[in-house]
Assembly symmetry: C2
Homo-oligomer: 359 residues x 2
DNA sequence: CTCCAATGACTAAGCGCTTTGGCATATACT
DNA sequence: AGTATATGCCAAAGCGCTTAGTCATTGGAG
């Protein structure tokens, strides 16, 4: 059915090994012969059987991507970044999704190893015993995105949350805010701590400080609830750093319900830059973008390097500020004039036409 | 290094083929021998080399997933669904992301075929010449999610957008709305047409009708802009079906800026159920959920069936209504009482505590 | 006690490719 | 002319596994 290397060899009048050497550019082959074989291969549209090649070589040019939970918002960008880098080097990625289930994860690990992957990328969410044990079962390189950072064993790639908190601080300061608060999740969460630390550090650097910190959870509901306490404790607050975007939108909405204008009275900065609702033109929320795709790309690059035998220690990935209306808008982001301003700034103003209603 | 089947055979005192038959449960092997081999295999922690097996069998138990653009919001849920179903049958998925680039896509297709995938799932966004040509290069089964639906060649799995439009209509009617409008994208887009058709059909079935249709584009900006025209043409509108979630949130915000309360005065239904901003507790927007993960699962199931030689014609995937505050909320979703109502309905009310501000 | 059919194992061949080592040629040099 | 060297190719062996076909054993029936 398909064209084999043997077919090419026969058609070119050479032996199979010679054809193989031509295809791989190895060994000593006369220029003339080389050209002829290549020509025939092209004519016959020969496609090497990557599987057989892998068996002979002992390398599959395949890497396993083990996601702790692919459905999570943070997984996809990383996955795309990893895939992007690896596929540029002809490395294919096998995707495994543990769905938070230890049994599934265990099974996936076995299957990954059975398939002779050359390396592994773990997109995790935190320390995990099973994953730690992976090192012993697998002797190829392992790179963690978000996972347990144990420099002894495997490389870990992380978004720099400290720097992200600092970015939020600088944005609020740049917008002239001085009565500043922070609404975030529980202090038991590492990312909440890091973001807060970076935030307060940058404020201090500028001679400012955070006057209030409210701890709750990473949800919209908590953001809504926090508004009341915030205004009670700090009535003239003019800038808030929310621990994530969910808190930010909940908080912004509740602040306005309390009569504050956003951003005129209170500027709000979120975190994660989750683009919801096809936020394609003028973004509503100012947010810190952790550059997750870059995290993935870095992970891919470290894996590539490790496959070449080079071992580097990973630097945290720098975030960026994604400006939106909740700090850069004028007056009240919900007032019509602003809506129209946003609209004017849109790339492609939609054409409006009113078709007759049916029936 | 690793344990080979030959090692198991030797340790068990049988020949390699016998060991192979034991592992596969094929051939005639004495019960006694079988048990012994299995025992040894377990002791040695033998793991079959899936690659070599694939070469011998001519089947790789791997399927290629070709995403037109993995970064798109619609790809991930489908991908997860596909992966979920396939991995349950020990089929691994190789991920390829064309990133809208024809050259990349072409290359990926080649690599996919080189790796001897047993089947292909295309997560596309519309008809494509290259993809159509895939049929001729690949003789295994191909399933399209969103792609060109050509029942002659390949199975296509689609979300049922007509039914989705109908769901939106029923939600508005169920909330007692009668002055109804539709704000959507250009009529040149198939999904805009389908959703509208289903919407109007369901309205008509109930003896109601859509009094105004505004065409623009699938963006938040268009939703914001449409509010003015909508209110001008239909001042007492009390229910709007927005063509997607972006339009819906833009519209809802602008309606309120115009003095309307949502949902008390105007109820709004979106489409796609894009959960932005960690919308984990009480959802803001009522939206039609196209069940994209189910689309992926169906695609996986059709592929499995096709691998078994069965060919079925795919049914469109039924959507579901995801209720939120923009139709089910009371009064103004932005009023504080509602905020608190939302909060009360949250599963885990956050604990509030006010730590001393640092420095 | 012989014969035949199961039974259980093995030898051989094959999947498609890569790599090593050796053997002829052809070229270079004294 | 005769040796040393380089060149181009191929035969053979290997990767780890599967499948088909063969051949001793056994057991029961005659």
């Amino acid at each position: 059915m398909a064209v084999r290397l043997a077919d090419v060899a026969r058609a070119a009048g050479v032996s199979l090994p010679t054809a193989s050497q031509v295809m791989n550019g190895t060994g000593r082959v006369a220029d003339d012969t080389r050209r002829r074989v290549l020509e025939i291969a092209r004519e016959l549209d020969y496609r090497p059987n990557a599987l057989a090649r892998s068996v002979a070589l002992g390398r599959s040019r395949t890497i396993g991507v083990l996601a702790e939970n692919a459905a999570g918002a943070f997984c996809m960008p990383v996955l795309i970044g990893v895939n992007r880098v690896l596929s540029s080097q002809d490395l294919a990625s096998l995707l495994f999704d543990a769905r938070h289930d230890p049994a599934t994860r265990r099974e996936h690990i076995r299957h990954m190893l059975d398939r002779q992957v050359d390396g592994i990328v773990v997109i995790g969410e935190g320390p995990d015993v099973e994953i730690a044990a992976l090192d012993e079962q697998f002797d190829g390189p392992i790179v963690h995105a978000f996972g347990p950072h144990d420099p002894q064993h495997a490389v870990g790639v992380y978004p720099d949350e400290f720097a992200g908190g600092a970015l939020a601080a600088r944005e609020l300061l740049a917008q002239g805010r001085r009565r500043i608060a922070h609404v975030t999740a529980g202090a038991d969460l590492a990312s909440a701590r890091e973001r807060r630390a970076g935030f307060e550090h940058a404020l201090a650097e500028a001679g400012a400080s955070c006057e209030l910190v409210l701890h709750g959870e990473f949800t919209r509901a908590w953001g809504q609830a926090a508004a009341g306490d915030l205004l009670a404790a700090l009535p003239d607050v003019d800038g808030v750093f929310a621990g994530n975007d969910g808190i930010a939108v909940g908080l912004a909405a509740a602040l306005e319900a309390h009569g504050k204008r956003v951003p005129a009275d209170v500027a709000v900065v979120g975190y994660d830059n989750v683009a919801g609702y096809g936020e394609d033109t003028a973004p509503y929320l100012t947010s810190v973008d952790p550059h997750l795709q870059l995290v993935g790309e870095r992970a891919g690059e470290y894996l590539l390097a490790a496959l070449e035998g080079e071992h580097g220690d990973a630097q945290p990935v720098a975030p960026a500020l994604a400006p939106g209306a909740t700090t850069r808008g004028e007056g009240d982001v919900r007032r019509l004039d602003l809506v129209e301003a946003l609209l004017r700034s849109a790339t492609a103003p939609p054409v409006v036409h009113l078709p007759p209603a049916t029936a």
